[in-house]
Symmetry: C2
Subunit: 235 residues, 2 copies
Amino acid sequence: MEDDTRQRLLDAAEALFAEHGFADTSLRAITARAKANLAAVNYHFGSKDELIRAVFARRLEPLTGERLARLAALEAGGRAVTVEEALAAFIEPSLRLRREGPHGERFTRLLGRGLIEIPDSLRELPRHHYGQLLERFQQILARTLPHLPPGELRWRLRFTLGVLSFTYIAASPRAAEADQIAGGEERLLQQLIRFLSAGLRAPELDADGAAAPDGRFQQVFDPSRGVVEKARHKI
Amino acid sequence: MEDDTRQRLLDAAEALFAEHGFADTSLRAITARAKANLAAVNYHFGSKDELIRAVFARRLEPLTGERLARLAALEAGGRAVTVEEALAAFIEPSLRLRREGPHGERFTRLLGRGLIEIPDSLRELPRHHYGQLLERFQQILARTLPHLPPGELRWRLRFTLGVLSFTYIAASPRAAEADQIAGGEERLLQQLIRFLSAGLRAPELDADGAAAPDGRFQQVFDPSRGVVEKARHKI
DNA sequence: CAGATAATCAAACGAATGTTTGAATGAGGG
DNA sequence: CCCTCATTCAAACATTCGTTTGATTATCTG
């Protein structure tokens, strides 16, 4: 029983944090679920904060490593990378983890929450785990989208993270299966890439505000040409 | 001083909840900030949960009302609505609130968090405040995007909410001003609409997986035609 | 002004929390 | 078997929390 108690604590914490958040999950709830003694948390992890750190590190370090490796492989390919490829490299490892089972789903829920809701005492975690990855991802996106000024790219990267965060949290694999018409869980990656690549590729805003939302122009889907700009018909 | 203490409590709670979350914000911290007595919370609101409810209701009821009115005005216009118009009607009131001052920014942060992190005892709040609005918005979107099957539309609506949630939380007006090239805060609505409308308008996934992320096709921006699908050059 | 109601106050209450402690038990090695 | 270290345990501790209570103060109205 080398690490059995430790693993059980991590599993229980992961599940309860994902469902109730960090502050609303007590150590007594975790240890009850893990069938362990309350003091085991302090013995194995030192403190609640360290337990939270360990829960993240357990799965996020391999995940981040994989994502970085995927992005590096893209860059080493010696050819221009498409937006779709960059997005797939960034997103697919996390969706695969999510599909591994209940633990994967729980962890990606935590991922989503951890981008938004992190206790004050653990504020370093996002930068620690994501800093390099996001930098790399942004660099690759910048190369695939040379028409975008840096500021606008930064905005769109934020939008992309918002989509991912919400996807991890708000949509379980069960919800994806319920949307049969959309093809269910296996199609989620493609749904995400379809949506995000279109948004990322959208033309830069003109300096004179040509994209004012007053309906003078709209993007429409023309089956022979794809998405194009078209003037509105006057009534 | 009719409602002065009550307003101070709401303001203090709003600020601290936005910064630290609900569970990590104690009533003693709120009352210290509001220069009020601890028991004032129970006198004016009854409980901490009711205070949370009141913080949301104070600004969300007018905001939701305005959003519904904007959407209703669109539908009453007697002509086809564009995606851009629907997005603007849904998003612009919240961005205006956000720009009113620090209180607006705090509240939209709360909005973003409230879509994701809500205490178990307050699980009814999202449906209570958003149910009708999101239904209405989805109906309007379905009409502007008739090429999308319902399941796929539901997914893209989730993605849209993720973008908004993250925008409210992760980007303050100060961050927007820092991105001068992107045009700062006044352009945020346009940035959002540009990104979201492109994503929403993206063609439906084909049943045979034509959008597989293997790089065979990519969407590219052709200045004369807009975003089109193009086969990759072979190396 | 007096009485009633509203609002505030300090203290107390009961519960919950994370951390610590020293004893007890388990495991491994000589 | 004994010793050492690792692990677990129950109890205690100090702190924090939301809620309640009864007294006090403030405000309003006739």
